[in-house]
């Protein structure tokens, strides 16, 4: 069967896409609140500094993790920099009762973006997804002074309200 380019159909589709786009634009609050479909990763433990520029890490963390895992398992190089354990220590999130969340909870740091991008990670099939409760430290979900968006205390499981992807995508972390 011969496919015929149907201009009319295409124009309708284009129009629909534009309309949809406008609709989404409209959901952005003029006061600066973010649309609900954007992820809102919890802030890291206050006072900690990321092993690389957070902007860079957002895009390339998997490279560093892959490199580091090979170094550690195969060569026994055990520096802490870029180790998953270190990431988890600073990026751990606590629930209301003060317990560290596992990756089963959608408020987990890694899940906030990986759910959004639909990228499945299997790190936590083997690795613990939260710090050792005796040793570890985590960002408090509640009253985290580092978290200036102020939305985390109201975030509950299942709550899709998210705040800061736009800033996130633009590279603003402060």
């Amino acid at each position: 069967m011969k496919t015929v380019f149907n201009l009319k159909k295409h124009l309708v589709a284009l129009f629909a896409v534009l309309l949809l786009g406008t609709g989404l634009q409209l959901t952005i609050d003029p006061a600066g609140a973010q649309p609900a479909w954007m992820p809102s990763p919890p802030k890291a433990l206050p006072g900690t500094k990321c092993d690389a520029d957070p902007k860079w890490m957002r895009t390339w963390h998997m490279r560093k993790l892959d490199h580091k895992r090979d170094q550690t398992v195969r060569d026994g190089i055990r520096t802490k920099k870029f180790s998953l354990k270190r990431c988890i220590t600073c990026h751990a999130v606590k629930d209301e009762s003060g317990k560290f969340l596992t990756v089963k909870d959608e408020r987990h740091f890694c899940r906030s973006c990986h759910d959004y991008t639909a990228v499945r990670i299997d790190c936590f099939d083997c690795h613990a997804s939260r710090p050792d409760s005796k040793k570890g430290q985590g960002a408090m979900l509640k009253n985290n002074p580092h978290d200036k968006t102020g939305r985390s205390s109201s975030l509950k499981p299942g709550d899709k309200t998210v705040a800061s992807l736009q800033k996130y995508l633009a590279g603003e972390t402060k």
């Binding site: 090979d70 398992v73 026994g76 520096t79 613990a128």
Partner: protein, 264 residues
């Protein structure tokens, strides 16, 4: 106007530079943990006596080297059943595996082997685990390179690339490997283990890299298990294998295990 490409390059370079700066992360552990004492025997001659911790930790950033060959000497005569079980429990506690009452699928990093001589009625038991072969058949058969031998002789599974085919389990003459059948959670952060991958005794590699002894060695009766560097002539292990009769299990296979036994 800054192009996106330039911006990315800039960020990349900045991060790399920062990484270099932090490379001198000199949080190096003490060369020898535990008590070390030096006694002058004669001018220019020192006798170094170390505590129970003979193994010296490498600096964190240094790769394992083939100058070292980690090994174990297990004296079966010094073990009774309870002693072996204590070693097994120590391994379970250290590495986070357990007996779930499902012997067909439960992990077994170390186990008690009971031996019985029908003729003499002599019975004894010994701990059996990965023998850390110099020529490991599990490494030969692995289709992905996940089953590997570290340069210092420790045989490991790189679970990042293990596909769970279990060829290595078939190939191992010591039945040292297990397959993880179940979803796990809250593993030890130094001993990751998970569904769909094969695992075995790691000779407590995280402890060894930290200058400590494997958990089973610490739990064993005094002198029943000796851990150390076979390549270091002054180590207690090397001295022992040089002076007493030891044997490798299934030495006929020419796999040259790093784990040796006495009195079997």
């Amino acid at each position: 106007m800054i192009s996106l490409k330039n911006l990315m390059n800039e960020i990349h370079q900045k991060a790399e530079k920062e990484a270099e700066n932090n490379a001198e992360e000199t949080s190096r552990r003490a060369f020898v943990k535990g008590s070390a004492a030096a006694v002058a025997l004669a001018p220019g001659m020192m006798l170094f006596a170390y505590g129970s911790k003979e193994a010296a930790a490498r600096p964190l950033a240094e790769a394992a080297s083939d100058k070292t060959r980690w090994g174990l000497l297990i004296d079966a005569a010094k073990f009774n059943d309870e002693d072996v079980d204590r070693c097994v429990r120590a391994c379970q506690k250290e590495n986070g595996w357990q007996d779930n009452g499902r012997p067909k699928t439960d992990a077994q990093w170390i186990r008690r082997v009971n031996l019985h001589n029908k003729k003499t009625k002599e019975s004894f038991s010994l701990p059996m685990m990965c023998q850390h072969c110099d020529e490991p058949p599990c490494v030969d058969v692995c289709p992905t390179g996940a089953s590997m031998k570290r340069k210092d002789g420790i045989v490991l599974v790189d679970k990042h690339i293990c596909i769970g085919c279990r060829y290595c389990m078939m190939a191992c003459p010591y039945k040292a490997r297990s397959f993880v059948h179940e979803h796990l959670e809250d593993q030890k952060d130094y001993a990751p283990r998970g569904i769909g991958t094969v695992e075995s005794c790691t000779m407590c590699v995280h402890r060894v890299d930290d200058g400590r002894q494997p958990a089973c060695v610490e739990a064993a009766p005094p002198g029943a298990m000796v851990f150390g560097d076979l390549n270091e002539p002054t180590s207690k292990l090397a001295q022992l294998v040089r002076t007493v009769a030891t044997q490798q299990v299934r030495a006929d296979l020419n796999l040259d295990p790093g784990v040796r036994y006495r009195n079997i």
